[in-house]
């Protein structure tokens, strides 16, 4: 066999080899994950893709009214029928979903970032800072977020930005708690001390040691809370405090459709189902991740390794 001249084996082949390796690794990850994770992940990816592509996927302009076709049942023209103004429900779902999911996602993203950073800082700082912050966390955790959001929106007015802000104000707490306890736990581990002794820089330690060991519980909570936030966002939009007209999201669609629930049940059913299936998908992802945090143990319920039920309730409360 002719020997390959290294200068001839160019970048493209090396990249291809790398690509294959990444695919292989990804497949391995998927295959070894818990069942919930794959099912949830699959559904969620499908939904997100649909939402991202919605401007191209929606057959009609979501705001286009066709008053001759009001409240029609599903047909080949309108797969999910039309609403009271003759607007295509499917298109409205696809476009509206962008708001619902984005608001919830933004809230969670901000909460994770803020909460995790705060939690890690508390763990490092200790002392009064730690005390005070954790007490605040203890307190905020009990609040129903719908209520706090109501209050804040009363002050700053409705709209999806207001929603994100209002929900983040209480939403960061579970992440802070988990991040802090993880940070404390990991800091005490031997391999950290070994790395420090060896002279590794702090950021190196964080990236190579802390994060890979800590991300899973945080990821689990992230998705579990995400599911919950979707429902809360839906609720607030339902009450008219979220996305304002002419924009609409799933919660608002549901509220509008209530009047016609007898005549056209599908109109109310669809946005609710959209919220349900998306929340279910992300909850499944979260539970799949959670199952790996505390593997087996007689298939017992994992409350993510926390001791206090109020901490566990973080992932579980209304």
């Amino acid at each position: 066999m002719p020997r390959l001249d290294p200068s001839v084996v160019g970048r493209s082949s090396r990249l291809r080899a790398r690509g294959a390796e990444t695919i292989g690794r990804a497949l391995h990850i998927i295959r070894t994950r818990h069942g919930s994770f794959t099912v949830g992940g699959g559904i969620f990816l499908a939904i997100v893709s649909a939402l991202i592509l919605s401007p191209w996927l929606s057959p009609y302009d979501p705001n286009a009214q066709e008053l001759l076709q009001r409240l029609s049942s599903p047909s080949t023209q309108h797969w999910l029928g039309t609403d009271q103004f003759g607007r295509d429900v499917l298109s409205r779902l696809l476009i509206g979903g962008r708001f619902s999911v984005t608001v919830a996602a933004a809230t969670i993203a901000l909460s994770v970032i803020f909460g995790t950073i705060l939690g890690v800082l508390c763990a490092r700082a200790g002392g009064m800072v730690d005390e005070v912050t954790m007490r605040i966390v203890d307190l905020l955790i009990a609040f129903p977020d719908v209520l706090v959001a109501l209050f804040l929106i009363a002050l700053i007015g409705p709209g999806h930005v207001a929603l994100i802000a209002a929900l983040t104000v209480v939403g960061w707490t579970p992440f802070a708690r988990m991040a802090r306890s993880l940070a404390l736990e990991i800091n005490a581990k031997d391999y950290i001390m070994a790395a420090e002794v060896l002279g590794c820089s702090r950021s190196f330690i964080i990236f190579r040691h802390v994060i890979p060991n800590a991300y899973r519980p945080i990821a689990a909570i992230t998705f579990l809370r995400f599911g919950h936030k979707l429902i809360t966002v839906g609720a607030l939009s339902f009450l008219g405090l979220g996305v304002q007209p002419p924009n609409s999201d799933w919660g608002a669609m549901l509220a509008d459709a209530l009047r016609f629930v007898e005549r056209a049940p599908l109109l109310a059913f669809s946005p609710g189902f959209a919220i349900f299936i998306t929340a279910l998908a992300v909850t499944l992802i979260g539970q799949g991740l959670e199952a790996e945090v505390k593997p087996r143990k007689d298939q017992r319920e994992s409350i993510l390794g926390t001791e206090s039920p109020s901490e566990g309730e973080e992932t579980m409360k209304a």
Binding site: R135, I136, D138, L139, L147, F238, T283, Q299, R300, P309
Partner: protein
């Protein structure tokens, strides 16, 4: 342990003060003429002339420093006096009193229903962990968690009220009015209660006294009823308390859908109508209640498990 309790109580106190300050400041954050707003909230009759307004301004001491006004307001608030609602000129505290009873009834009904279903479900799942019935129940709880109650509610109403006519669709005029809303509200806590019951029961079933009871011929059913459930209760109870705190104001969507005069709807309508005194009163009550419940449950947990309170994860 006692330091933990003390700290918790201090925090609770501080939080209550903070909330009261925020609530006090609401009029100052929501409009151009806060003092007029305040005056209007303290006067039974809306139609007052400028003269009366000026007199009231002095009478209520609205030109004194804010801190003093806050103390005044706080004094009133503690006695339950938040003034009169802008919407119907009824005393805010009267509204709150009736609404809180409604909310508590609704919350207890929903959570009671959830518990009644969750306990046996969790026990059954714990009996055969990992087998088909357990997998099914776990799947069920996973799905229930994701169901928005405002989605179920209209359809439940459609079936039970409109089609079958068994239950009323809205309002609050008797015990039958609580059924549908409680049902809709109960689904998600049911899922959580089931999971916690299952976990607790699995632990309990491994205990020696269970084997001892079986060895006396009690049979698995009676053993669970007499010895299992009682010992599995503590985490369930804590969860129950937390949910109770959350549902008092957090059931707002259901209250709106079913026209139930509860605290959630009270606050919601106050927000929509910019009914400042009502917002103040409702916020103070709801948030104080949440703070109290949170502290209580934490203390309860410590009472059941005196080793807790050391929040730092030890190496």
């Amino acid at each position: 342990m006692w330091t933990f309790i003390l700290r918790r109580l201090v925090v609770m106190f501080v939080a209550l003060v903070l909330v009261s300050v925020l609530a006090f400041l609401i009029p100052y954050m929501s409009g151009p003429e806060p003092t007029e707003m305040i005056i209007h909230s303290r006067v039974a009759n809306l139609a007052i002339d400028q003269d009366t307004i000026d007199k009231m301004r002095i009478h209520l001491g609205l030109n004194r420093p804010l801190a003093i006004q806050y103390l005044d307001w706080l004094g009133d608030a503690i006695q339950g006096d938040f003034g009169f609602s802008f919407a119907d000129r009824e005393s805010v505290s009267v509204h709150i009193r009736t609404s809180i009873m409604v909310s508590i009834t609704l919350a207890l009904s929903a959570l009671g229903l959830a518990l009644v279903v969750a306990l046996p479900l969790g026990a059954v799942a714990a009996l055969k962990p990992g087998r088909r019935i357990d997998t099914f129940i776990t799947f069920l709880t996973q799905s229930l968690v994701a169901i928005p109650e405002y989605w179920v509610a209209p359809f439940a109403t459609l079936v039970f009220s409109v089609s079958l006519g068994w239950l009323p669709s809205a309002g609050w005029r008797g015990p039958e009015y609580v059924v549908l809303p409680a049902l809709a509200l109960a689904l998600r806590p049911m899922a959580y209660f089931t999971r916690v019951t299952r976990a607790a029961m699995i632990d309990v079933l491994e205990a020696p006294y269970i084997t001892a009871a079986l060895s006396r011929g009690l049979g698995i059913g009676r053993t669970i009823l007499r010895h299992g459930i009682r010992n599995a209760m503590p985490p369930v109870i804590t969860l129950f308390a937390m949910w109770l705190a959350g549902l008092i104001g957090g059931a707002v969507v259901i209250e709106v859908i079913f026209s139930i005069p509860g605290m959630g709807r009270l606050l919601y309508e106050a927000v929509v109508n910019k009914d400042i005194p009502m917002i103040q009163g409702a916020i103070v009550c709801l948030v104080s209640f949440a703070i109290l419940m949170s502290t209580l449950t934490d203390l309860m947990y410590v009472a059941l498990n005196p080793t807790v309170g050391i929040t730092d994860a030890s190496a």
